[in-house]
C-alpha cells in the first residue's frame, strides 16, 4: 500500500520535512498509546455508555472539519488550484458522512450524538479555528496533524472493538480509515504546493506543534472521566 506521506506536490515543506515527520510520528504514537489505554480500561469495565462518551469528541471532530473545510474554501479557496477546491469540498462531504456514521455508532451504544462542541474537545476545536484565522495554510497543517493522529487510533480501536463484538464500530472505522488516507495526503500535497517562504513554514510548524500537544488527549481513558461519563 502506498504511503500518503510521499504524495507529490511542491517542495515548500522540504526544509522542515524532518520535523514534520517527527511531529506526525510522535502524535500517531501518542494517540495509539492513549487508545490502547482506553480499551484496556474498557476491557475491565465494558460499559457501552462510556465507549459512546469516548466516541463523542471523535464525532465532533468530523462535523467541525465540515465547518472548517468550507470556511477554508470560502476564505482562501481562490488562492488554490481549482482541483484543490474540488478535493477540499470532497473531503468535507466525507467528513459529513463520518459524522453521520460515528453518530449512528454512538446511538447504537445508547449515547447522544454531540450537536455542540463537547467540553473535552474544546481545546482542539479552539486551536483549529484560531489557526484558520492566523494563516491560510495553518488550519490545513493543524487538521493534517489531527487527522494523522486519528490514524494512530485505528488499529487499537479495531482490536478493542473486536474483543467486545462491536462489529459496527469496526466497520465504520475501517471506512473512515480509508478516507483519512485521502485527507492526510491532500493536506500534505496542499502544504507542499502552497508553502512559499519561511513565514509560511513557521506557521505550519506552529500549527502542527500546537495540535501535537492537543490531538491525542481525547483518546485517553481519563478524558472520558473528565467528561463526566
Amino acid at each position: 500500500m502506498v504511503d500518503v506521506r510521499n504524495v507529490r506536490g511542491g517542495d515548500g515543506l522540504e526544509p522542515i520535512r524532518a520535523e514534520i515527520d517527527e511531529l506526525l510520528d510522535s502524535v500517531v504514537e501518542a494517540t495509539a498509546t492513549a487508545t490502547e489505554a482506553f480499551f484496556a480500561s474498557y476491557d475491565e469495565a465494558p460499559d457501552p455508555a462510556r465507549l459512546a462518551a469516548w466516541l463523542a469528541p471523535r464525532c465532533w471532530r468530523e462535523i467541525d472539519y465540515v465547518y472548517l473545510l468550507n470556511e477554508e474554501i470560502a476564505r482562501y479557496g481562490m488562492r488554490f488550484q481549482r482541483r484543490h477546491i474540488t478535493l477540499l469540498a470532497k473531503q468535507s462531504f466525507q467528513e459529513a458522512e463520518h459524522y453521520d456514521m460515528v453518530g449512528k455508532a454512538i446511538e447504537s451504544l445508547g449515547g447522544t450524538v454531540p450537536t455542540s462542541v463537547p467540553a473535552e474537545a474544546e481545546p482542539w476545536s479552539a486551536f483549529l479555528w484560531q489557526c484558520l484565522d492566523r494563516h491560510p495554510l495553518a488550519a490545513i497543517a493543524a487538521w493534517n496533524l489531527s487527522e494523522t493522529s486519528a490514524s494512530g487510533s485505528f488499529e487499537p480501536t479495531f482490536r478493542g472493538a473486536e474483543r467486545h463484538g462491536l462489529d459496527e464500530v469496526v466497520r465504520i472505522y475501517k471506512r473512515i480509515e480509508t478516507d483519512e488516507k485521502f485527507h492526510v495526503g491532500l493536506g500534505l500535497q496542499m502544504l507542499s504546493t502552497y508553502v512559499a517562504d519561511d513565514h509560511d513554514r513557521d506557521e505550519v510548524l506552529r500549527a502542527m506543534r500546537g495540535m501535537r500537544d492537543i490531538a491525542w488527549k481525547t483518546f485517553t481513558p481519563e478524558s472520558v472521566g473528565a467528561a463526566g461519563a
Binding site: 502506498v2 488562492r79 480509508t178 488516507k181 485521502f182 495526503g185 508553502v195 517562504d197
Partner: protein, 315 residues
C-alpha cells in the same frame, strides 16, 4: 504567504527572440518587490479572466525589478496572445507571488535541459550554480536559432558546458551523452520544456536514482481521464472492456460491476491501487514512488491509464 495580489508597473517590453518578449516589471513608487529564488514564478492577471503563471528569469538580487519572458502560442488558450498584443511599457499589471514549486536543490553537479521558452526558470538557476562554482552542463534546444531567447546571456555564464542546439540546424538534443552514462554522485537533473522533451529526459535518466530529476512543465500533465482509448482485461473476472478516451479506467471497471475500494478518485490516497499483469502504463497519480512507477506492477485506475494496446489487471 505571497498569496495576495498587488499591482506592478510594466517597465519595458522587449522582443528577445521570434515570438518571445521579455517583460520587466517594477514595483509601483520605487518600492521593493518580494524576494525570490531561481525556479520561482508569479501569477499575472491579464484581464478578461486570463491568469497565467510565468517563471522569473531576471536577477534575484535585483529587489526592484522582476523579469518574465512570454512565448506567443498561436495554438494556446489566448493568454500569451494577450501579452503580446496588449501589454506595453507603462501599463500596470496585477501580479501574485512569487511562489516556487521548482526550487534549486543543493548538489555537487547539475545537468540542465531546457526546451524553447523552458529556458526561463533555468537561466537564473544556471547563474546561481555558476556563482557557487559547481560543475554544470546545460542543453538548450529550440526550433531555430532565432526562436531561442537569452542565448547571449547563457553564453556569458562562466564555467560549465553549454550546448545551444537549434533543431533546424542540429536536430534534437543529444540526451544520451549527459544522461546515458553512470549517474554522478550527488548530481541532479533539471528539465523544463514541452511534454515531449520532459518525457525524453525521463526515459534517458530512468536509471538515475529516484528523486534526481526535477521537472517543470509548461502546462499540467495530461488531464485525468485523458489519453486515447485502450482495452483492459480483468484476468480473474475474465472480462475484457474498452476504456474510451476521457473516461477514467476506474469508472469503466465499476460499470462492469466489479468493485474497487476507493476514496479520493484523484490519485492521492492510493486506496484503489491494483496489480498490473501486463501493459504499458501512463501513471497520472500523485503518490506512487518513482520505483513503484518504474516497476510497472501496480497502478491507480482512478487517474492512470494505459498508453495503448491491452492492459491486463489482476481483478
Amino acid at each position: 504567504m505571497t498569496g495576495t495580489w498587488t499591482t506592478v508597473a510594466v517597465e519595458s517590453v522587449q522582443p528577445c527572440a521570434t515570438d518571445v518578449v521579455a517583460i520587466t516589471l517594477a514595483a509601483a513608487g520605487g518600492m521593493t518587490l518580494p524576494s525570490w529564488a531561481p525556479g520561482a514564478h508569479i501569477d499575472v492577471d491579464l484581464g478578461a479572466g486570463f491568469v497565467r503563471q510565468y517563471s522569473l528569469c531576471g536577477d534575484p538580487d535585483d529587489s526592484g525589478r522582476w523579469r518574465i519572458a512570454v512565448l506567443r502560442e498561436a495554438a494556446g488558450r489566448g493568454g500569451s496572445q494577450r501579452v503580446h498584443d496588449l501589454v506595453r511599457a507603462g501599463d500596470r499589471l496585477p501580479v501574485r507571488g512569487p511562489r516556487n514549486h521548482f526550487p534549486l536543490v543543493d548538489a555537487d553537479r547539475y545537468v540542465f535541459v531546457a526546451g524553447g521558452i523552458g529556458i526561463t526558470p533555468i537561466l537564473p538557476m544556471l547563474r546561481r550554480v555558476a556563482a557557487l562554482n559547481r560543475p554544470w552542463t546545460a542543453l538548450y534546444g529550440g526550433r531555430s536559432r532565432n526562436s531561442m531567447a537569452f542565448v547571449d546571456e547563457l553564453r556569458a555564464v562562466p564555467g560549465g558546458e553549454l550546448q545551444i542546439v537549434p533543431q533546424d540546424e542540429s536536430g534534437l538534443l543529444d540526451l544520451v551523452t549527459p544522461l546515458g552514462g553512470a549517474p554522478g554522485e550527488h548530481s541532479v537533473v533539471y528539465c523544463c520544456g514541452p511534454e515531449a522533451l520532459i518525457s525524453a529526459v525521463e526515459r534517458a535518466s530512468a536509471h538515475w536514482p529516484a528523486g534526481t530529476l526535477h521537472r517543470e512543465r509548461f502546462s499540467a500533465p495530461p488531464v485525468t481521464g485523458g489519453g486515447g482509448a485502450f482495452d483492459v482485461v480483468l484476468r480473474r473476472s475474465g472480462v475484457r472492456l474498452t476504456v474510451p478516451e476521457h473516461v477514467p479506467l476506474l469508472d469503466v471497471i465499476e460499470s462492469a460491476g466489479i468493485a474497487v475500494e476507493n476514496s479520493c478518485r484523484a490519485g492521492i490516497c492510493g486506496t484503489c491501487q491494483v496489480r498490473v499483469c501486463s501493459g504499458e502504463l501512463d501513471h497520472q497519480d500523485d503518490v506512487l514512488s518513482d520505483d513503484e512507477r518504474d516497476r510497472g506492477d501496480v497502478m491507480l485506475p482512478c487517474v492512470s491509464r494505459a498508453r495503448g494496446g491491452i492492459l491486463v489487471l489482476d481483478l
